[in-house]
């Protein structure tokens, strides 16, 4: 979805001269779509993410809408305090783009995984977090949010091929997208983990269990319709390519508590990452219980009352 995102951004930049793109020296074979069309509004800040975010804040203060681009941990974690004291505190429209949510950079190891980015940004009330589920939704999400006031974090997948069946690129700020009409179980999936949840729901449907999948791409502020959806289910399973704490599982738990809902929640997400062990995203999903088979098994266990 990074390519879809950058193509959409280039189109938007054709129409709006305020859009500027900065990269922390990443985006080979993806970022050229912007840099070649808008060379005067493209800056490689070098491998220096703190300064990149600091400068983006200075640009935004002068009226620009700067996007900063890097892999999730370098985009969010390294310059975290610059994001907090810069665009968040100043309420400026800086857009932080992080590529590779979760385990997408599988073989690259934990330095490249994005497992706590949402957890560190979500406590701040004055930032918007958008995590598209596929490349079609990434286009729509950017088109509908790029001009919102205040800072935005875009959590993107690398994958420009996979589409979530039935989603058809739908996105609305502050809302979830629902797939399926089953009433036995609700999956609540964040961003790029949606396709695993949908695949798991198909496996369960084959066993006669009716599932609905709520896709949370507008992660923060919390989608206003999620409480109403949760209220219709006795069992919910959250799914995210993120540590189990701080992401969408925690968000659902907060809503259940705040709204006093009678919904049992099972949180699926990354657990402790075995030191030094790497592998493909698929391998790591399976290891952390995020593959469709593991998710379906967890859901079955929950329905039987044995998590």
């Amino acid at each position: 979805m990074r390519r879809a995102f950058l193509e959409t951004l280039s189109d938007l930049a054709d129409k709006d001269p305020r859009i500027v793109l900065l990269t922390g020296d990443l985006g080979y074979m993806a970022i050229e779509t912007f840099s070649e069309r808008h060379p005067d509004r493209f800056f490689n800040a070098g491998v220096a993410e703190q300064n990149m975010v600091g400068m983006a804040t200075g640009l935004a203060q002068a009226g620009f809408i700067p996007f900063t681009y890097s892999i999730v941990p370098f985009s969010v974690l390294r310059p975290y305090e610059f994001i907090r004291n810069g665009p968040v505190h100043h309420r400026l429209p800086v857009r932080i783009v992080g590529v590779g949510g979760g385990f997408e950079y599988g073989s690259n190891g934990i330095s490249h995984y994005g497992l706590e980015d949402v957890a560190v940004l979500r406590p701040m009330p004055d930032i918007t977090i958008v995590a598209p589920a596929d490349h079609e939704q990434a286009r729509e999400a950017l088109s509908k949010t790029w001009n919102l006031p205040g800072p935005i974090y875009y959590r993107l997948g690398k994958d420009d091929k996979t589409t979530v069946p039935g989603l058809a690129g739908r996105f609305e700020p502050g809302a979830v997208q629902l797939l399926g009409r089953g009433r036995d179980l609700l999956f609540v999936a964040m961003g790029n983990a949606a396709s695993e949840a949908v695949a798991a729901s198909k496996l369960l449907e084959e066993q006669g269990i009716g599932c609905t999948v709520a896709i949370v791409a507008a992660v923060h502020p919390a989608p206003s319709d999620l409480a109403g959806v949760l209220a219709q289910f006795k069992t919910a399973v959250s799914v995210e390519a993120h540590y189990r704490t701080g992401g969408v599982g925690s968000l659902v738990a907060e809503i259940i508590a705040d709204e006093n809902l009678q919904c049992r929640l099972i949180r699926c997400g990354a657990g402790s990452v075995a030191s030094g062990i790497t592998g493909s995203q698929q391998h790591l999903y399976d290891l952390h219980g995020l593959s469709p088979q593991k998710l379906a098994a967890t859901a079955l266990g929950a329905l039987k009352g044995t998590p």
Partner: protein, 254 residues
């Protein structure tokens, strides 16, 4: 006024504020374009060493941006005038307090001016101890590589930081040569000689070439006999006796 406010509020950082008072005076009274907030050519100023903000508040008061009542609210409950500058206060574009952030703001402001075909300049006032932060050097490299000639950094070289002398904590020597090696146009000045600093800045080419830095040698606690070059006055507030002595010292010098 710095002394009065510090005493009234019972808050320290006096030495740092006195260290930069002449630099702030040089910028605000004769150098910077401080016209209306949305003016295309209004210069930007970032007090990267936010803890010395009392000197800036006094300048903003003397420029008419804030009232005496505002100034008197320094460090009170619900005030916009805290120990570090806040962006909601008229006259302040960038809130600071976390060292190593300000030069990046200013580099972005300078880049923005270039993209908007404005001749405005971006000033950043850093402390020497702040140059311990790696992020400062990220901004230094970007500004030199992109020839941000409208970016002017001023380093308050007072030789002190919170817990000791910079030469003992994390030596920065030779500071001017380090900036020169990174591709900046470096000027070593006396940070208490206002006309000399103003002449130096007025002579800079801010339309092409390298970014500029004034390495301004200053005296921490300048003007107050018992504060000058004393580490304790980074944090310490004054007693009544000390305050009387301080006022006597600065009055005698005036």
């Amino acid at each position: 006024m710095i002394l009065e406010q510090s005493k009234r509020a019972g808050v320290g950082h006096i030495g740092s504020a006195l260290s930069i008072a002449d630099i702030v005076a040089a910028l605000y009274f004769g150098i910077m374009n401080t016209s209306a907030k949305d003016a295309h050519e209004r210069d930007r100023f970032v007090l990267a060493k936010g803890h010395a903000v009392l000197a800036l508040y006094v300048a903003l008061y003397l420029k008419g941006s804030i009232s005496f009542e505002d100034l008197n609210s320094y460090c009170g409950d619900g005030t916009l005038l805290g120990v570090h500058p806040e962006c909601n206060l008229p006259g302040i574009d960038f809130a600071s307090g976390s060292l190593g952030h300000g030069l990046s703001f200013a580099a972005g402001a300078a880049l923005a001016a270039r993209l908007q075909n404005s001749s405005r300049r971006a000033f950043a006032l850093l402390s020497d101890g702040e140059c311990n932060e790696g992020s400062v050097w990220e901004a230094v490299m970007f500004a030199a590589h992109n020839k941000l000639s409208n970016l002017i950094a001023i380093i308050d070289l007072n030789g002190q930081q919170a817990l000791g002398y910079t030469s003992n904590v994390l030596s920065l020597d030779p500071l001017a040569e380090r900036w020169r090696a990174f591709g900046w146009d470096v000027h070593e000045v006396n940070g208490h000689d206002i006309p000399a600093m103003q002449a130096c800045i007025a002579g800079l080419d801010t339309s092409s070439g390298a970014p500029h830095v004034l390495v301004a040698r200053t005296t921490f606690g300048k003007g107050v006999s018992f504060m000058e070059n004393q580490i304790k006055w980074h944090y310490w507030p004054m007693s009544d006796t000390e305050y009387a002595q301080a006022i006597h010292d600065v009055s005698a010098a005036a």
